[in-house]
């Protein structure tokens, strides 16, 4: 599903920072993988590169058989809109839009009709347990509820890849566990490939596979039996 070869990312500033260096990975379809490592290890950078939000300095990423290098910005956006769903730590919901509008936003961007997009949004909000809060604004929801809306938005086109950057980092322990359960549920029911960045050891260990990064290198890749 995701093939990464000799991936490199450099940041040019006052001094050059090597965020990722010669990273090689293969993540299979339907896998749920956690990505761990200390701050500055390169995990978010790796997630951004896979999610086509950023471009690598060297190496290659192949997503669902499609090589990402050489694609234009708009072509990368097409890949993102068709194949990737994002879940952010700070939810990144648009404050002026209702839950339903936030979830249907990616569908409208794909040119879906109003009714079709609304039906899908309500279906997804039902899926994440917010069927009764479709018209609420993000400000009127709790942190956990906002993250559920963000998950519903990430699932709007049932993308084959779900990327989550610290999805529980901004939530209390109980809510974090609920959200993680929801992600796992979605993964199992929809069969999506999930890549999850986390600082939380227990969250990481709840995933069948954990990749550890340090100083831009993969230092560990552990596959364990699926656990709940």
């Amino acid at each position: 599903m995701i093939l990464i070869t000799h991936l490199q990312k450099l940041f040019d500033g006052k001094s050059r920072v090597r965020a990722l260096d010669d990273v090689n990975l293969h993540i299979r379809k339907g896998e749920m993988v956690s990505l761990v490592g200390p701050s500055g290890s390169g995990k978010s950078t790796l997630l951004n590169l896979i999610g086509t939000l950023d471009k690598p300095t060297g190496g290659e990423i192949t997503l669902d058989g499609q090589r990402l290098s050489g694609l234009t910005d708009d072509q990368l956006t097409q890949v993102r809109r068709d194949k990737i769903g994002f879940i952010f730590q700070f939810f990144n919901l648009l404050p002026s839009l209702s839950c339903e509008e936030n979830v249907s936003l990616p569908l409208h961007l794909r040119g879906w009709g109003r009714k079709q997009a609304r039906d899908r949004a309500i279906e997804l909000l039902d899926l994440v347990g917010l069927g009764k809060r479709v018209e609420h604004l993000p400000d009127e929801l709790s942190g956990g509820e906002r993250q559920r809306v963000a998950i519903a938005r990430a699932l709007s086109v049932y993308p084959p890849v779900l990327l989550a950057d610290e999805p529980t980092g901004n939530l209390d322990t109980t809510t974090g566990a609920d959200i993680l359960g929801l992600v796992r549920d979605v993964h199992e029911r929809l069969g999506a490939t999930v890549l999850l960045v986390t600082h939380d050891r227990s969250v990481a260990e709840s995933c069948p596979r954990t990749i550890t990064l340090r100083d831009g290198h993969v230092v560990d890749d552990t596959v364990r039996a699926a656990s709940r």
């Binding site: 999610g51 956006t77 097409q78 993102r80 809109r81 990144n92 648009l94 839009l97 409208h108 961007l109």
Partner: protein
């Protein structure tokens, strides 16, 4: 100062573009003010310079407006013991007909005494056949030119210059060339001097002089001498120092000054809103910075001062740039105003050099800084009032507090109420202008609330057009009325300015056309100059008898127009056969009985005045007018008021006989010719030219040509205002760019999310464009409404204080429709740059932005 260095400077460096755009508002506001007034002052200065140089050592001048006076006045003046020298003068401006040379100012003087008043400083060359000017000027074909004019035209000593005189074309011999400087530099060097009697012949003045220039005996008291001369000559002749001509010219240029003041005020007002907008945004964006400062112990006063100093510096910087730009603008338009006033009033002046008055620059600098400080006051106060705890929390920084919004609405409604009360309170300028200001301020204060209401109205439409981009753009406006309302207010002011001026233009053009249809209906106009506003050359009255003999002419009306001074202001006196005119024209009668008033005027029992004369001089039917004529004071009754657009200062129409009796002037400027049915305009014109062209100076203009000339002058007047509109619109565009730049910075994360969830670059662009269009639309909607109010007031100002013209209220729908694509196009254009910057940035950074 340390706070400025540590807090302000890094912010300025980070937001350099935005700071420059903010300053641009003040730059343009000050530039318009300086440009308009400097140009105006330069024209006035040029006129005064010409007057000064020509006056030489003249201390007093005897004049009678443009009409001149009989020669015997000279002897009476010379008989006064205070008077050392008194010399007659004829002064006329004539077209040279030489490309690029414009007009030539011709002075007719009596060289015998004139040299003691003016220094001619002639070139003495071997070619000079006669050393003594007294002798050479005794030859009636002699002329002296300035060295500058000779160099420009290639004319030389003893060369020949042919001029069209009232006695046909005459050849003059250049018998003197004045050295550059002094008198020779008057009127930009386009100066000619000839013998006074030759000038009388050339210009058809008969035995009249335009002026007597006087030098008093050494030690004589000028004021006392002036009083004695005035008593001797009676009230019909004015005895004044040469500088008083400047005051009269100033009165003529006053219309332009008033218009420049209104536009400058609007431009500064627009600048004020741009600065207010940017500082309000800066305060909300720097809330956390302010919170940290407050947490570290900064007092409210220190925060307030910091922001006020920032706005003061922005104002100072912008004003200094504005001063420079203003002088450049003045250079561009001084020539334009100069030629307009020359054409409109036939006044000799050439504004070739623009020099800014230090006092004006000082006022402009003060206005710019003061405007900036006023604009920065509310943001500075709200910065000082920031709660440090709340400021350090992340949140909706742009949301305007309900309390602030309510306070604005209440203030606006109170102002609106007071503004309406002023309309009914009376016609005193205090009430009128207060009402005007209050109404405009009320609309501007309501702008944030109106922005919210109108954005809500627009949202469904925008969402229907583009479900995502439209909704996001509308929401952006709804979320941050503070960010948008300053720009919308600036835009609305620009639109209102255009609507006001457009409305005046539309109304003026339509009413002038209606007036031309009724009043200017002769088939041909026989004039002594190329332009009907030039009155230097005159026909003898008897010439009309010869013209009447020409085949095809049915009726001929002799008209003498001359500017006279009424209560210190030059107004137009029209003398003609009033009954004959009344039979042919049907001017709209405002006051008086049409059936009887013309008959009474033709019997010399009174005069008819134009509507603008009545309004400007506060005169009504039945009032007595006191007119100064060379033979004494003429007290005459106002018998009627008619709608007449002949002159911006007002017109008095009297019967020719009455005029002749009091002004001792039997000359004519224009013959109005009505043709017999079936007679061809071009044939009669050709016959006139064939028969008289060779023996007298004569121009035959068709009705169409005269109408085109009047429309051209009117257009020229509005041409000036269109320049002002352009500048105002430019300011508004800068405002939109500023707002959108800020809006994008504010919404960096939102736009990042949009792209992260799959928005293509074009979709992000569309969002920004739609926001720009919406700002344009809001500005247009509020501007159209404000324009309706502004138009009402500007029409009233035109009526009561500018030109006394009773223009009808006609909303310029055509101009409003034209503004739609222009302003929306400008808005879209303004959004292009910010939209590109929104799609070019790093997505990762955008998503991390807080």
């Amino acid at each position: 100062m340390m706070l400025l260095r540590l807090i302000t400077w890094p912010y300025v460096r980070k937001h350099m573009l935005r700071c420059l755009l903010t300053t641009a508002g003040i730059v343009l506001g000050v530039a318009v003010f300086v440009g308009m007034h400097t140009a105006n002052q330069s024209v006035l200065y040029a006129f005064n310079q010409t007057v000064d140089k020509i006056a030489g050592s003249t201390q007093l001048q005897v004049t009678a407006g443009e009409t001149g006076f009989p020669e015997e006045v000279l002897e009476r003046v010379q008989s006064q013991p205070d008077v050392e020298v008194a010399v007659p003068v004829i002064e006329a401006s004539v077209q040279t007909g030489l490309q690029g040379q414009g007009n030539l100012l011709v002075l007719g003087v009596d060289m015998t005494g004139d040299r003691s008043l003016r220094d001619y400083d002639l070139n003495s060359t071997e070619d000079a056949t006669i050393d003594d000017p007294l002798v050479f000027l005794a030859q009636p074909d002699s002329i002296i030119l300035s060295e500058q004019f000779c160099q420009r035209t290639g004319l030389q000593m003893n060369g020949k210059l042919t001029m069209q005189t009232m006695a046909g074309p005459k050849q003059f011999t250049i018998r003197g060339v004045m050295k550059s400087g002094g008198l020779a530099s008057a009127f930009g060097g386009n100066l000619a001097v000839m013998d006074i009697y030759a000038a009388q012949m050339v210009f058809g003045r008969g035995r009249q002089f335009d002026r007597v220039d006087i030098a008093l005996h050494r030690g004589a008291d000028v004021n006392a001498a002036r009083a004695r001369l005035q008593t001797l000559l009676g009230p019909g002749l004015q005895v004044d120092p040469p500088s008083s001509r400047g005051q009269q010219f100033e009165a003529m240029a006053q219309i332009y000054s008033m218009s420049a003041n209104i536009t400058s005020l609007f431009a500064l007002f627009i600048g004020l809103f741009l600065i207010y907008n940017t500082f309000s945004i800066a305060v909300t964006q720097r809330r956390s910075e302010i919170g940290i400062l407050r947490a570290l112990g900064a007092t409210q006063g220190q925060i307030k001062r910091l922001f006020l100093i920032e706005s003061g510096i922005a104002g100072l910087f912008g004003s200094l740039l504005g001063l420079g730009l203003g002088v450049l603008i003045a250079r561009g338009i001084a020539g334009y105003i100069s030629s307009y006033l020359g054409e409109m009033y036939g006044v000799a002046q050439r504004a070739e050099e623009v020099s800014a008055d230090p006092r004006l620059l000082g006022i402009a600098l003060f206005l710019g800084v003061a405007t900036s400080l006023i604009a920065g006051w509310i943001p500075a106060r709200s910065a000082a009032g920031v709660d440090p705890v709340k400021a350090l929390q992340k949140g909706r920084a742009q949301v305007m507090s309900e309390g602030e919004n309510r306070a604005r609405k209440i203030a606006a409604l109170v102002m609106l109420g007071l503004g309406i009360a002023c309309v009914f309170a009376g016609h005193k300028p205090l009430f009128f202008y207060s009402g005007y200001m209050l109404s405009v301020l009320a609309v501007l204060l309501l702008t944030p609330a109106l922005c919210i209401w109108l954005s809500r109205l627009l949202r469904p439409l925008m969402k229907w057009m583009r479900p995502v981009e439209g909704a996001l753009a509308a929401d952006s406006l709804l979320q941050a009325p503070r960010r948008t309302s300053g720009t919308v207010a600036a835009l609305a002011l620009s639109v209102a300015l255009v609507i006001g001026l457009g409305g005046i233009a539309k109304s003026s053009f339509e009413m002038i056309r209606e007036w031309m249809d009724t009043a200017l209906n002769p088939d041909l106009f026989v004039t002594s100059s190329e332009s009907i506003t030039q009155r230097s050359f005159r026909f003898p009255y008897e010439f009309g008898d010869e013209l009447r003999q020409v085949e095809g002419i049915e009726e001929l009306q002799a008209v003498r127009t001359a500017r006279i001074v009424y209560q210190g202001t030059p107004v137009m006196l029209v003398s003609t056969n009033v009954e004959s005119i009344a039979n042919r024209v049907n001017m709209k009668v405002i006051e008086g009985d049409r059936e009887t008033m013309y008959r009474q005027v033709s019997r010399g029992e009174g005069v008819v005045i134009s509507d603008n004369f009545a309004l400007l001089r506060r005169v009504n039917t039945g009032d007595m007018l006191e007119l100064l004529s060379p033979t004494g004071l003429l007290r005459t009754k106002v018998l009627g008021v008619v709608a007449d657009f002949s002159d911006q200062q007002g017109t008095i129409m009297m019967d020719r006989e009455l005029y002749r009796r009091y002004w001792k002037d039997d000359t004519v400027n224009v013959f109005r010719a009505y043709l017999k049915p079936g007679a061809s305009q071009s044939d009669v014109r050709q016959r006139l030219l064939d028969r008289f062209g060779a023996k007298t100076r004569l121009f035959v203009l068709t009705n169409g040509e005269i109408r085109a000339f009047i429309l051209k002058i009117t257009e020229q007047w509005f041409g000036l205002t269109y320049v002002q509109i352009f500048v105002a619109v430019l300011v508004a565009i800068l405002g939109i760019v500023n707002t959108l730049t800020v809006s994008i910075a504010d919404r960096k994360r939102e736009l990042g999310v949009l792209q992260a969830v799959g928005a293509l670059r074009n979709q992000v662009r569309h969002t920004i464009w739609m926001e720009a269009l919406a700002i344009g639309a809001l500005g247009l909607m509020i501007g159209f409404a404000l324009g309706a109010v502004h138009l009402y007031y500007i029409l009233e100002i035109t009526k009561r204080d500018i030109a006394g013209m009773r223009l009808e209220y006609r909303y310029p729908i055509g101009i409003a429709l034209t503004l739609l694509p222009v302003m929306l196009g400008a808005a879209l254009l303004s959004g292009a740059g910010p939209a590109e910057s929104a799609v070019r940035g790093s997505l990762v950074e955008a998503l991390e932005y807080e």
